[in-house]
């Protein structure tokens, strides 16, 4: 634990050093100094940044929740039924690499200019990762493990509860980690259109008004939000997937 705190401090220190180096070498207001940014950040956080941040966080939470519910259910269904996999796999294979971000205009026409189109955009981008990871997680389970739990007298529901879901959980969490990174990037893009709230809007608006310190405060806020979400996922993982941590410790020991 102490080690991880030290690592976080070291990471922050190095980034600030790099930032200072860039600030002094570029000699332009485009890269304000870290201390100026932090002061502005603290000053504008309660009244201005917080509300933008919360809007963005709301959109991400909504999109991630919807993606998890639909993606995991679909992934489990496809993974457990080879025939369904045969039907759906070619569709996923083609849709997965399509740059869905280009569909934002279409989504805005279909779902309006408000939150819904942005949430749908993030969802359709990250859901594939979750479906594919969940499906592959189920398919990686050996026939022997299924035999073993069936021989204990488990019915289909109990097999999901005791075998399938715990087995795919760590993989879903990994997919979630990747998805959150992607969803923040997508959100930033989506918030540049037809909205006046959200951290993406705030950053681009500060850029248009040539207020670089404010813009950097926004970037800082977005980064902190990303970091906090990551930390939260780490926490959830450490609570739900104890055996993974134990396994890692065991490997280190040997």
């Amino acid at each position: 634990m102490k080690g991880s705190k030290n690592r976080a401090l070291y990471g922050t220190f190095m980034i600030f050093m790099f930032w200072y180096a860039l600030h002094f070498s570029v000699h332009s207001s485009v890269i304000p100094s870290p201390h100026e940014t932090v002061i502005t950040f603290i000053r504008i956080f309660p009244d201005l940044l917080l509300s933008h941040l919360l809007r963005s966080l709301g959109r991400i939470t909504m999109a991630v929740t919807v993606s998890l519910i639909i993606g995991v259910s679909l992934g489990l269904w496809i993974g457990m039924n080879p025939k369904i996999d045969e039907i759906i796999n070619p569709i996923i294979y083609i849709l997965y690499p399509v740059p869905k971000i280009a569909f934002l205009p279409v989504l805005m026409i279909l779902f309006g200019l408000g939150n819904l189109s942005k949430i749908v955009l993030i969802t359709i981008i990250i859901i594939f990762q979750i479906i594919v990871t969940t499906r592959d997680g189920v398919k990686a389970l050996t026939k022997e493990l299924f035999y073993s739990v069936r021989s204990l007298g488990m019915n289909q529901i109990k097999i999901y509860r005791h075998l399938v879901i715990p087995a795919v959980l760590p993989k879903i969490i990994t997919a979630l980690r990747i998805s959150v990174g992607t969803s923040i990037a997508v959100l930033f893009f989506a918030e540049n259109f037809a909205t006046q709230y959200g951290i993406g809007y705030f950053i681009m608006n500060s850029w248009i008004t040539v207020n670089y310190t404010k813009m950097f405060s926004g970037i800082l806020a977005l980064s902190i939000m990303g970091l906090l979400i990551f930390k939260m996922i780490d926490y959830v993982e450490s609570r739900l997937c104890v055996w993974i941590r134990v396994g890692k410790m065991n490997t280190d020991k040997n």
Binding site: T142, E144, L145, Y147, S148, V149, R150, S151, L152, G153, M154, K158, H162, L163, P166, A167, L169, C241, V242, W243, V246, G247, N250
Partner: protein, 243 residues
């Protein structure tokens, strides 16, 4: 009493078992031995009710096998422990599935853990255990349901020589202390002779020969010449060509 009558199991186009006839008396042990791919594990799966035969019948205690029996314990080759459950939870699983209350589960699980000398491992996860310990946990899990039939697939194949013998001794002790029928599949001649009252020698999809083992049950058997004599007999049967 297990009666297998003209059993046939197919995997797609391939016939895994053909015309299998076998009788195993109640509260005896039977070791099934044969080369890889001879269908011995398939026979075990069929006895467990995990796969349905293409033809033929399996009767256990007079009842025709139609699926998974409540009082059949199965230990598969990789032990089938769930990595996300502690030893205690893995052992309790069979009882949990049978909807027993916690008050009923706790004493049974603790007693069996103690019996198998693994009570100090109860909060550990399978990843922290050695192969022998994992096998003990898997055995403990099946014992909680008080099986009248215990099926084991290669119970000691993944273990080192010393642990192998310890697990075999443990299985023999369990058999002596609890009335049950044990069927085990193995490719190890010594294991078949030490643990099989009846030794079924298989070849591709069928039974080649059935041997009765008069020396079964002696815990010191490995130190006697009779053991090696019967091992040799099994070996000769395994090496003999054609049925």
């Amino acid at each position: 009493m297990i009666e297998v009558e003209n059993l046939r199991v197919d995997y797609g186009e391939e016939t895994a078992l053909y015309e299998i006839n076998l009788e195993i008396e109640k509260n005896t042990t039977c070791a099934i031995i044969g080369p890889s791919g001879c269908g011995k594990t398939t026979l075990l799966y069929a006895l467990a009710g995990l796969i349905s035969p293409k033809a033929g019948k399996i009767r256990i205690n007079g009842e025709e096998q139609t699926g998974i029996r409540q009082s059949t314990g199965v230990i598969l080759q990789d032990y089938g422990l769930l990595p996300w459950k502690t030893v205690w939870d893995n052992v309790a699983l069979g009882l949990q599935v049978r909807k027993k209350s916690r008050n009923e589960i706790v004493p049974v699980v603790n007693q069996i853990l103690e019996e198998l000398r693994i009570e100090d491992l109860k909060y550990k996860y399978p990843v922290e255990l050695s192969g022998g310990q994992r096998q003990r946990v898997a055995i403990a899990r099946t014992l909680t349901i008080s099986p009248d039939l215990l099926l084991m697939d290669e119970p000691s194949s993944a273990l080192d020589a010393i642990t192998k013998e310890q697990i075999q001794n443990l299985i023999l002790r369990i058999f002596k202390n609890n009335p049950m029928t044990i069927v085990l599949v193995t490719h190890n001649i010594a294991e078949a002779v030490f643990l099989g009252q009846k030794i079924v020698i298989m070849e591709k999809a069928g039974i080649k020969h059935i041997l009765d083992n008069p020396y079964f049950g002696d815990e010191e058997l490995r130190e006697k010449m009779d053991f090696y004599r019967i091992c040799l007999k099994v070996r000769r049967w395994m090496e003999m060509k054609g049925r």
